[in-house]
Amino acid sequence: MIIHDVICPFCGCLCDDLELETEGGKIIKVQNGCALAESTFMTDTRLPAPIRRTETGWEEISYNEAIKETAEILQGADRPLLYGWSSTHGEAQSVGVHIAELIGAVIDNTSTVCHGPSILAIQEVGHPGCTLGQVKNRADVIIYWGCNPIEAHPRHMSRYTTYATGFFVPDAQRERTVIVVDTRRTDTAGIADEFVQIEHGGDYAVLSALRAIVRGKASVIPAKVAGVSKEQLIRIAEICKRAKFGAIFFGLGLTMSRGKYKNIRNAIELTDELNRHTKFVISPLRGHGNVYGSNEVFTWMTGYPFAVDFARGIAFYNPGETTAVDILRRGECDAALIVASDPGANFPRAAAAHLAKIPTVVIDPHMNATTALARIHIPCTAAGIDAAGTAYRMDGVPIRLKKVIDRGYPDDAEILKKIYDRLNGGKGP
């Protein structure tokens, strides 16, 4: 069977034009997708049933048993952490928040180790952005800063920016100027009209220099700023000011390098400044398919996009204190539920090591590095493959992920609801 207009749940692009061929409950062919999409749909490392660690290895247990034991672990904990959420749908995220509220847990999503600093910057100065179609239809200047979309978001350029045909940009390749800013010459840098190579940790200085030039203060700029010549900086500033519509996309190279959220704040303020000359927008390139959805769901339910602590009864937010990495690193957390993510692979060593010391339960379709640290792993559906649900694209556009096959696994939202029911004496959220 051929299924059209399938949404790839892997990255924040949420490309929705894939064509899948299925046969006998299996996906046999993926068309229109990138290599990441292909492996998302074609690779499946699912456990046949929940497993529990024994003294010597693992044993299979029933879903009921796994759910019961998970509820007991959470019930018995003083400082439980519910972490992950970015690769599942909003329906599961929402049940997660209800559980956190019920038991006074900390709930956090993967923003904590990716665009958390970007969120902090936005909370200080706001976010001049737009949907990706605005960029596609209007932008004549595209800036990729501290990111490498060719590898991390392979279709970003063909669907939304550099190569996309837009209403006001009918000849995209000719009409768009692409600027790439990075500390190293990436594949993406290879296709840039201007490549700006910055010394490590120099982003903040370069952003400040550009702001000064845009404000008409080029005279204060030295001959070189973090390895970038003054001439190039002036040229870039001019390209930006003369743009009809400019769009900056940034990645972890800006967010997680020296300066962190200050870099993003500076980039947003540069965007703000450019809007006094022309139209300019800025957006983070979000990684996990539905990480933005976890920010959205957390926000309408609790008021905060990530790192929400219910221990006081109210929703409390203080990144650096209530963020998952910090709670683990301080050894504060005494039980963890990990859903739809892999902190075992992505967290700093000390934080991941603490997960191995405490009872950790993983609810995830696939075995991953966190499984190795966990006490229980409960396999479930994968949102967008064998479960439908809501995901938010990196620009905030909500899309309904499709269920393309049935593999007989329970939906993670259903597993979470059962855990909630047990914690709440049989009553749902």
Binding site: H4, D5, I7, D16, D17, G90, S94, H98, E101, L102, I122, Q123, E124, V125, G126, H127, P128, G129, C130, T131, L132, G133, Q134, K136, N137, R138, R159, Y160, T165, G166, F167, F168, K244, F245, D272, N275, T278, K279, V281, N295, E296, T299, W300, M301, T302, G303, Y304, P305, F310, G313, I314, A315, Y317, T390, Y392, G396, V397, P398, I399, R400
Partner: protein, 566 residues
């Protein structure tokens, strides 16, 4: 079968001509009926003021920009937070509360139905997700068409039928309720950082003017027989001297519908400014209300501002950027491809600012100078003018000259000369307030026959019982009692169930979402129009098949089907 008997209620029900009668109300299975059995639960209203459930016909509580207002404002989330209590979830936020915060606080004030003021169709799914998490009010969503490319193309071709067809397709796809135009044409211009300054200026690249968009959409709206009229946020919001644009706009509105207005002009306070700069800004409320009083085809809402901190959020992206250049605080912008724009900035309305004081006075003047209360509804454009929790204070101000005088005495110097507020003696009565907070809204939104805004037999049993005895309170003197009384109902009844008691929510909510499925002749169905499909697939970034909101997002959707036009 569930039955409820509300006895000794002092009822004001303007749509049925009831003004302060002591009556009993019988409710069965969520609707008002003639009588109930003696097994019914009984509430003794003790002669307290009993009104149909409150309706907000223009508020921003759900969707992309509201949630972004929360996202960017942890400082506000800390400003209002409550713990889990009984059936109530944790809430955060004061001027942009979480969905549960909105729902509980509206319910405590007796509000049972809300119209979200602005929903971009591309992001409609988000609005509906938040509606589901706003459980104690029935919801509906104004759908944005101000910069819709397909609409502008049809308007340019002077094709009302095609315009109507695009509207019908989009409303259905977005599960929207009515047509919203926010700074028509201006939001498209903002796509390249421009704005429009008058209703006859042309939208760049599209060769249509705001006036053409407005008049064609009005005709399309009436052709489709939509329950609500076109809902307009005029061009030039918030600019000194903009009253001229507003009056020009009012002048082009025909009178096409005998049952309701032909245009709903929203937050008119922001569109009633004289002068030419912030230094000489003045009130033009008299001019605006003179126009309104002579045009029964227009209904407006106040857009009252109240002093304090709040968040402005609108699809009017260029306006927000201008405001940002004045305030120098944080600014968010979010333009939506082929459809509209939006912007968000926090503001503080201060009594030290003459401009803010004049704005405050204008909203009240509009209400006091409009002869027919059905033509000036009470709103703050929540949270733009003030968070909705300020409505009781506005009621107090409208009912008491003394309260207004006391407030006026605390304002910045020079305000008195630039508004006429202090000279206005009018004090609204309970009936006026009932019109301006529910009956008028129900009529304007076209939901009277859905059983909203009145307590007649068959109506939905949405009822607010306030701890106010109208026979023993003199609102002119005891305005504090009025304000307190409207802050917290004794009972809020939603579809026959007591949902809120003395300010606390006591049940899980089960709201409904109203949306309009407008019928068009077979040959006008946009889903079969090859040109429409081609442009959609070329210029949107989602596939046309993935665009419509699925039914699963409206677990209690109430579809209103219109009659097909010929």
């Amino acid at each position: 079968m569930t039955e409820l008997w509300v006895k000794n209620a002092c009822v004001i029900d303007p749509l049925r001509g009831i003004n302060g009668e002591i009556m009993d109300i019988a409710i069965r299975d969520g609707r008002i009926v003639e009588s109930v059995s003696d097994r019914a639960d009984v509430i003794d209203a003790q002669r307290c003021l009993t009104l149909p459930g409150g309706i907000d016909s223009h508020t921003h509580v759900s969707g992309t920009k509201v949630n972004f207002g929360r996202y960017m404002s942890p400082e506000d989330m800390r400003a209002g937070r409550t713990k889990r209590k009984g059936k109530m979830h944790v809430t955060s936020g004061y001027y942009v509360p979480t969905t549960f915060g909105n729902s509980y606080r509206y319910s405590a004030m007796g509000y049972t139905t809300l119209l979200e003021g602005a929903m971009a169709p591309l992001e409609a799914r988000h609005t509906h997700e938040e509606f589901t998490a706003t459980p104690h009010q029935d919801m509906m969503a104004n759908t944005l068409f101000d910069g819709n490319w397909a609409v502008m193309d049809a308007v340019r071709e002077k094709d009302v039928r095609k315009t109507a067809a695009v509207v019908a397709w989009t409303l259905k796809a977005a599960r929207g309720y009515g047509i919203k135009l926010t700074n028509p044409g201006g939001t498209e211009a903002w796509g390249f950082g421009e704005d429009l300054t008058g209703i006859h200026e042309m939208v760049p690249h599209f060769a249509v003017s705001p006036a053409e968009i407005i008049t064609t959409m009005i005709r399309a709206n009436e052709l489709l027989k939509l329950p609500h009229s076109v809902h307009l946020h005029c061009n030039n919001l918030g600019k000194p001297g903009n009253y001229q644009t507003t009056l020009e706009t009012f002048d082009i509105v025909p009178d096409l519908n005998p049952d309701r207005q032909t245009l709903y002009a929203t937050h008119v306070q922001f569109h009633a400014y004289g002068g030419g700069t912030w230094k000489n800004i003045s009130s033009k409320a008299e001019e605006i209300t003179r126009s309104i009083n002579s045009k029964p085809q227009i209904v407006m809402d106040m857009g009252q501002i109240m002093f304090g901190r709040t968040m402005t959020m609108t699809a009017d992206g260029p306006m927000e950027f201008n405001l940002h250049c004045l305030h120098h605080n944080k600014w968010s912008n979010h333009d939506v491809e082929l459809e509209t724009g939006s912007g968000i900035i926090p503001v503080t309305y201060s009594k030290k600012s003459a401009v803010n004081c004049i704005m405050w006075a204008i909203g009240l003047e509009l209400a006091l100078l409009t002869k027919n209360p059905y033509q000036c509804l009470l709103e703050t454009d929540n949270p733009n003018g003030a968070p909705f929790v300020k409505y009781p204070e506005i009621i107090g101000l409208l009912m008491s000259k003394r309260y207004r005088d006391e407030e006026c005495a605390t304002l910045a110097n020079g305000v008195e000369q630039r508004t006429s507020l202090c000279a206005l003696e009018r004090e609204l009565d309970w009936h006026d307030i009932a019109v301006m907070t529910r009956a008028g809204q129900a009529k304007a939104l076209g939901i009277v026959n859905q059983g909203k805004g009145h307590l007649g037999i068959g109506a939905e049993a949405d009822i607010a019982i306030y701890p106010i005895r109208t026979d023993s309170v003199d609102p002119a003197r005891e305005y504090r009692k009025v304000v307190e009384g409207f802050q917290k109902t004794r009972y809020t009844i939603k579809r026959g169930r007591v949902v809120s008691r003395d300010g606390d929510i006591i049940v899980d909510g089960a709201n409904a979402t109203f949306w309009v499925d407008a019928m068009v002749p077979e040959d006008l169905k946009m889903e079969n129009d090859p040109e429409f499909i081609k442009r959609f697939e070329q210029f949107y970034t989602v596939r046309m098949s993935n665009y419509p909101v699925q039914d699963v997002y409206l677990p209690r959707g109430r579809r209103i089907e219109t009659e097909v036009f010929t």
